[in-house]
């Protein structure tokens, strides 16, 4: 995915000369069955799109042409054309899709089916299910290595990160982490996978090669009860130096130095911060704040919140256009 971004970046310098760092942000709103479209330059809502029921996981094709959206209560994945903002198709996700990840070549979606203890691999072009892989109880977090060869799924009640070979679709390793792992994120160089544990209150750093936990990161915010600190979304900067972790009902995002594993800062955002992502230029991080119905723009140079923008009810996931 990063390589794709690189190629696009080079192309862009060649023939694009539009002003001002404008990306388009797509936010899934779990409660009111919409996707809010926000422009990063103006930080204004551009449009609200009606989608299927209980939209959660959201991602964008590497060329930026299509949004893929888990409509959890409709048991389907919707495809939205970003040019027209119309739903142009669906993918067979299996029941209750929550989170998914797109393969680096853009051809396969790996979907966590929470209700069935399965990970489903879907070929996007043929819209066919290629494999159903049994994993632990309540699969949720999904990540794929930069080379596309390894997929990692976390299962919430089993408390494991399952390593899956994307050729054979077999589980090859299981790494125990803390309670209710919600999200998995590879470092851009593929050397580590970071896994958040919502109830355990930690982030486990797993070595990709040894397949074992090499570091457990803990959090503490003055004046907050430890049980309110519930790590969920993770975003790691493209240079691999900083990791941002959304801490759920603690209403803060932790900024972690990936070399020392020290938390260098806690950024106050909205209520129950769930997921987050960078703009392609890495200058801005955008968080979804489920209980305050807004998203927060964070300046990654200063790690200060810049602006909050009201979106729909209970914003859940965020996807940002690659250009």
């Amino acid at each position: 995915m990063q390589r794709r971004a690189c190629a696009l970046a080079i192309l862009a310098t060649g023939f694009m000369a539009n002003p001002a760092w404008a990306y388009t942000v797509y936010v899934s709103n779990e409660k009111d069955n919409t996707v809010t479209v926000v422009d990063t330059a103006t930080m204004q809502v551009v449009k609200t799109v009606e989608v299927g029921q209980r939209p959660r996981g959201i991602t964008i094709s590497h060329d930026g042409k299509f949004i893929y959206l888990c409509a959890s209560d409709d048991d389907t994945i919707e495809i939205i054309d970003t040019a027209t903002l119309q739903i142009v198709g669906t993918l067979p996700s299996g029941p209750d899709p929550e989170l998914f990840v797109l393969s680096p070549d853009g051809k396969t979606l790996y979907v966590a089916n929470e209700d069935d203890n399965l990970v489903t691999a879907i070929n996007i072009e043929s819209k066919q299910v290629m494999a159903e892989i049994p994993v632990g109880v309540e699969p949720e977090g999904m990540a794929v290595s930069p080379d596309g060869k390894t997929m990692v799924n976390t299962s919430e009640t089993t408390s494991m990160a399952h390593f899956i070979d994307t050729d054979s679709h077999e589980v090859t390793d299981n790494v125990l982490v803390d309670t209710r792992p919600r999200f998995a994120q590879f470092k851009p160089d593929g050397s580590q996978i970071w896994v958040s544990a919502e109830i355990g209150g930690t982030v486990s750093v797993i070595d990709s090669f040894k397949r074992e936990v090499v570091k457990k990161i803990q959090f503490a915010i003055a004046g907050l009860r430890p049980e309110t600190i519930q790590p969920v979304g993770i975003a790691i900067s493209a240079d691999g130096k900083k990791a941002y972790v959304a801490l759920g009902p603690a209403n803060h995002v932790a900024v972690i130095n990936t070399e020392t594993y020290e938390v260098e800062k806690y950024i106050l955002v909205g209520q129950r911060v769930w997921h987050l992502d960078f703009t392609p230029d890495q200058k801005t991080l955008i968080t979804t704040n489920g209980n305050s119905n807004d998203i927060t723009f964070i300046d990654t140079a200063t790690d200060e919140p810049v602006q909050s923008v009201t979106v729909g009810q209970q914003p859940w996931g965020v996807a940002i256009s690659p250009h």
Binding site: A9, T13, A20, N117, S159, M160, L176, D189
Partner: protein
């Protein structure tokens, strides 16, 4: 592309591109290598869990409240399934041995039979007397008992035992959860209507204690005598309507009617039939419990749909307690990676132990009396109204310890 990318960024990304390629090769080598675990088949560790329950058909005032035949057991079975899904990655297999005795029967014999089968963990849905009759055997044989039925505070206080862990909340936890909410809502004046059986008296006592603790005022109390009438008659509704109205006629001004009727003699009839229009809470109206069949917060919807799909009915509090008990054993087996009862038991007793049960935070056992700390749900027949502890009730160790008897007050000496 709607933005111009400066050359420096493109250059940076290209540098990154190269780095990514190098590690791709490394990742390939790593995945090509066969993982050690699959090289040799591991011996399957068998972990047997017993389920000992006192059962007799029960009556209820409402058909909706008749307990399903497999109440509790169904939760344990779903948890066995969950444990086995996890267990397949660790070569662990869990099974459940279910034994039923009559509510007044000797439980010790049935308990010994479970131990003879190899069960080192027993989920118990028994009376206080029955639980105490197996406590010493459990201690001597190194068996952990998980109480999922008895809410009696005495079992966590003067009659606490070293090998009994309590997953069911106590009456005092339930009453405190309710009282916190009523006080937060600024509905502090209560009348207390309680039944004439022992357990009704115990629940009434818990409500009185909660009132004193959280600033509620019980302005009047009344006992509803059980005169032995049948719970079901074809034309009873007209009489009940008048009966409850008259029963509540002479009460002083109040905000809330508290009902303590665990015995199902009159409580269900109180809402909507009182002399003055007042809210009802306790064992009727707004009810405090460890689970609610409509709770879907904190990932609960997954539990609810899994339970419904497996059992064909909705999940009740006892199902959740039994699920949590079996999961506690599963969690300890996962973390200790084996089937050694000593290690599993030590882990459950350790500071590291916690279990997740769709209540928004980790649940742990109180060290001083083995009671599971847990948020308490307040709900009516349709939905969850609130969850206690309420915001603002602070505690130096865990806010969950604002519910029930706290360490400084405990009479428990584990033995």
């Amino acid at each position: 592309m709607t933005s111009a990318v400066p050359g420096t960024l493109a250059a940076f990304l290209c540098l990154f591109f190269q780095t990514a390629n190098v590690t791709d090769v490394m990742a390939q080598e790593a995945t090509d290598k066969q993982p050690v675990a699959t090289d040799r088949p591991q011996k399957i560790a068998e972990i047997r869990i017993g389920y000992l329950r006192a059962y007799a058909p029960q009556l209820a005032l409402s058909l909706l409240d008749l307990p399903p035949r497999d109440e509790g057991v169904a939760g344990a079975n779903v948890a066995i399934g969950d444990n086995n899904t996890t267990g397949k990655f660790l070569s662990q297999k869990f099974s459940l041995d279910i034994t039923e005795v009559k509510p007044d029967a000797d439980a010790a014999q049935a308990f010994n039979e479970l131990i003879a089968k190899g069960d080192r963990y027993v989920v118990a849905d028994l009376s206080v007397r029955q639980l105490l009759s197996i406590a010493d055997i459990a201690r001597d044989k190194g068996v952990l008992v998980f109480n999922v039925g008895a809410t009696d505070d005495s079992l966590r206080e003067e009659d606490c035992r070293i090998n009994i862990f309590h997953v069911a909340p106590t009456r005092s936890m339930l009453a405190d959860a309710l009282a916190q909410y009523l006080v937060v809502k600024k509905w502090p004046n209560w009348v207390l209507l309680y039944g004439s059986h022992e357990r009704d008296h115990l629940y009434a006592a818990a409500l009185r204690r909660a009132a004193a603790r959280f600033g509620g005022q019980i302005v009047a109390e009344k006992e509803f005598k059980d005169t032995g009438t049948a719970r079901r008659t074809d034309t009873g509704a007209t009489q009940i309507q008048q009966q409850i109205s008259v029963f509540t006629q002479d009460l002083p001004e109040h905000d809330v009617v508290l009902v303590a009727d665990e015995s199902e003699v009159f409580g269900t009839y109180v809402p909507y039939r009182t002399w003055t229009p007042r809210l009802v809470a306790g064992t009727a109206g707004l009810v405090a419990s460890s689970w609610h069949p409509a709770s879907e917060q904190w990932g609960g919807i997954q539990m609810q749909s899994r339970f419904l799909r497996t059992t064909g009915r909705r999940m009740l509090s006892k199902d959740m307690s039994a699920w949590t008990a079996v999961r506690a054993v599963g969690e300890a087996s996962t973390r200790t990676n084996g089937d050694d009862p000593k290690k599993i038991s030590d882990y459950i007793r350790s500071d590291d132990f916690s279990v997740a049960a769709f209540k928004g935070q980790k649940l742990t056992f109180r060290k001083w009396n083995h009671q599971l700390r847990q948020p308490i749900l307040l709900g009516d027949t349709e939905s969850v109204v609130s969850t206690s502890p309420q915001e603002g009730y602070l505690h130096q160790i865990s806010e969950l310890d604002t519910l029930g008897v706290d360490q400084p007050e405990t009479k428990c000496v584990l033995k």
